[in-house]
């Protein structure tokens, strides 16, 4: 049986300590700049905070993974290299990377530190994954959330590295690392700046009838009725009108979160080494509840018991959950 490590998000030092205390095997985090894909206001770590976080986690047997998973635009590569240098100096256990230039730099400069391939690299076939394994010595791939369990099982047979899959949280619809939707409306890039629907461009407008419009850079992404559950103000979760859908519909996906709690045994059986919980932008309250619930579930499964997953529906976007592509390819 695989290790079934639990990989947990940390947007702040307090969230990191919360995740460690709640039973994370590893936490992932990033610096306060464009070098990671959750470059959100008021979030993430200074080098001093990361040093303290590494000490706290290591003292309790928890690993720290540093996300350097954006794509440096030409002329700014040094920022990513410095972030890698700082992470190495502070003793992080692995780097999560997407850009080949960044991967190459770390593989050459810090051959003793593990490289994980970020979901932002969008490696969704055995060949793509093997390219990164053979060229950069990648030890683990974070799979895109677009594969069914039989497909994951097949990939596992054909690659020389570990597999990490998302099991809970925001359900990105677009292939990660290939999405410029935010940049098209706001001028800030997900790949180059690490932002997605930046708060500075988001506005919630309350209408006279109690409904709410969420706007991104002045574009109305969605309008929620007074009683309707809401979602993140991201373009891919918006409602639009199309020629065949004049009434407006969720053209890409409804506000919904991924929750694979019921599929954990199958994922373990398929050879998944690590389970990732999304949500560095979420509160430590979220981290505490979700990590605790999945810690108990994984421990139950490992002990041969039936897992009893606490109800996490309130923490899901739109208060709706899905098993997405993992369950059936009809999702596509």
């Amino acid at each position: 049986m695989s290790l079934a490590e639990l990989i947990c998000p940390a947007g702040t030092p307090a969230a990191l300590r919360t995740a460690v205390d709640a039973g994370a095997d590893a936490v992932y985090c990033g610096f306060q700049d464009a070098t990671n894909a959750r470059n959100f206001p008021g979030l993430n770590f200074t080098p001093v905070e990361l040093a303290e976080a590494v000490a706290y986690a290591h003292a309790r047997g928890t690993k720290v993974l540093l996300a350097l998973n954006t794509y440096p635009p030409a002329g700014k590569v040094d920022l990513w290299r410095q972030a890698a240098d700082t992470g190495a100096r502070l003793g992080v256990d692995a780097f999560i990377v997407a850009d080949m230039g960044v991967a190459d730099y770390i593989a050459r400069t810090y051959p003793g530190i593990r490289l994980h391939l970020s979901v932002q690299a969008a490696a969704s076939s055995p060949e793509a994954i093997r390219y990164y394994c053979e060229n950069f010595g990648v030890k683990r791939v974070v799979l895109p959330r677009i594969l069914t369990i039989p497909e994951i099982r097949q990939i596992r047979r054909e690659i020389p590295c570990e597999i990490e899959t998302f099991i809970f949280g925001n359900h990105g619809l677009m292939v990660e690392g290939r999405c410029s939707l935010t940049n098209y409306l706001t001028g800030q890039s997900t790949n180059m700046d690490g932002v997605c629907s930046p708060a500075s461009d988001v506005e919630y407008v309350r209408d006279a009838d109690g409904s709410m419009s969420s706007q991104l850079a002045g574009f109305t992404i969605d309008r929620f009725g007074p009683e309707e559950k809401a979602g993140y103000p991201t373009i891919c979760k918006g409602r639009y009108a199309a020629p065949h859908r004049p009434e407006g519909y969720y053209a890409f996906e409804e506000p919904v979160s991924l929750n694979l709690s019921r599929l954990l045994p199958e994922l373990i059986e398929a050879g998944v080494h690590a389970f990732k919980i999304e949500g560095r932008q979420r509160s430590k309250s979220y981290v505490r509840s979700v990590v605790r619930a999945f810690r108990a579930a994984v421990d139950d499964i490992k002990a041969g018991r039936e897992a009893n997953i606490a109800d996490l529906i309130a923490l899901t976007e739109g208060q709706k959950q899905t098993q997405g592509a993992f369950e059936t390819k009809k999702w596509r």
């Binding site: 794509y71 002329g75 850009d99 080949m100 060949e127 793509a128 410029s180 940049n183 850079a217 373009i235």
Partner: protein, 308 residues
């Protein structure tokens, strides 16, 4: 405008599901009339569409090459299913024509043999371009969202390594790809039983916001910009910054005339302002934008600075 005539004009692969006979007619006209130097062929977006036009490829290639055009075959942007892996491997095994790779699975299959790097490969910076060059890349098409200073820095590095550098200067920008087919979804279907409904929209299916503002175009699993990128006013600076190839993406407009407008400006035959007005007319209802290049929202149109 004095611009080097050696700058090459290229025609990117057709992103949409145009019917086979429409494609045949399109490429016949391109071969006979369009002043483009290089033409990218092949299905990049959806592997289900490939069987519809694969059979025509040899004839199309022959026709274009006879007309003096360089032909390059592009691989799929998304490789997940068995047929997609096979298609990528088959293309990567070819010796001629050249190939443009859009997925790391293609890089794996190609090894160190020469190839071009497509816009889906995320070659954003000099370190990545140098890595790719070391693995046999001869040419790189930069991501459409890159701003001018990054394009210049990337082009400088690529030129120093002897690579060709390409930037999209016309047509809708690819903004996202997904495993899910949004054309099928709009019609209450799934990708597996899509019945190729994307064929109904030769220039993408328009999406409008709830306050009726046009915003995006859906093309199967791909999401495109509502506006067409237009970097005609910026062409001189692109060339000065080291960009060697300017890419026109096929849209449902008169692409021969579009190519002619760009060629006229590159050759200094028509002033940019006059040419750009003509381009706007040719582009019909589509808005023109250059925001990405100017480091602002992609949909925006930034007016050219007055010549010094």
């Amino acid at each position: 405008m004095a611009v080097k005539t050696m700058t090459k004009l290229t025609l990117g692969p057709i992103a949409y599901h145009w019917p086979a006979d429409a494609r045949r007619d399109f490429y016949a006209r391109i071969a006979d009339e369009a002043p483009v130097d290089e033409v990218y062929l092949g299905e990049v977006i959806c592997s289900k569409r490939a069987p519809f036009h694969e059979a025509d490829l040899p004839v199309t290639i022959e026709r274009l090459e006879r007309a003096g055009k360089t032909v390059i075959l592009s691989t799929l942007a998304e490789v997940m299913l068995k047929r997609e892996r096979k298609a990528t491997e088959d293309l990567a095994a070819m010796d001629a024509p050249e190939i443009e790779i859009n997925n790391a699975a293609g890089l794996f299959a190609r090894g160190k043999r020469p190839h071009r790097i497509g816009p889906f490969m995320n070659a954003y910076n000099e370190a990545t371009i140098a890595w790719m060059a070391g693995k046999g890349a001869t040419h790189v098409c930069l991501p459409a969202e890159m701003p001018a200073p990054a394009i210049a820095a990337a082009a400088r590095a690529a030129c120093a390594l002897g690579l060709g550098v390409e930037v999209q200067v016309y047509g809708r920008a690819s903004l996202a790809v997904s495993a899910r087919c949004y054309h099928a979804r709009a019609h209450g279907r799934t990708k597996d039983n899509c019945q190729f409904v994307c064929e109904e929209d030769p220039d993408g299916m328009p999406l409008r916001t709830r306050d009726d503002r046009p915003i995006l175009r859906v093309n199967g699993i791909q999401t495109l910009s509502e506006s067409y990128i237009d970097l005609l006013p910026e062409a001189a600076r692109l060339v000065a910054d080291g960009v060697t190839h300017l890419r026109l993406m096929p849209q449902a407009v008169d692409m021969v005339a579009v190519a002619q407008v760009f060629r006229d400006v590159l050759d200094g035959r028509v002033p940019t302002g006059e040419a750009d007005a003509r381009l706007a007319t040719l582009s019909g209802d589509a808005g023109l934008s250059n925001g990405f290049y100017h480091g602002t929202a992609g949909y925006r149109r930034i007016a050219a600075a007055a010549p010094a």
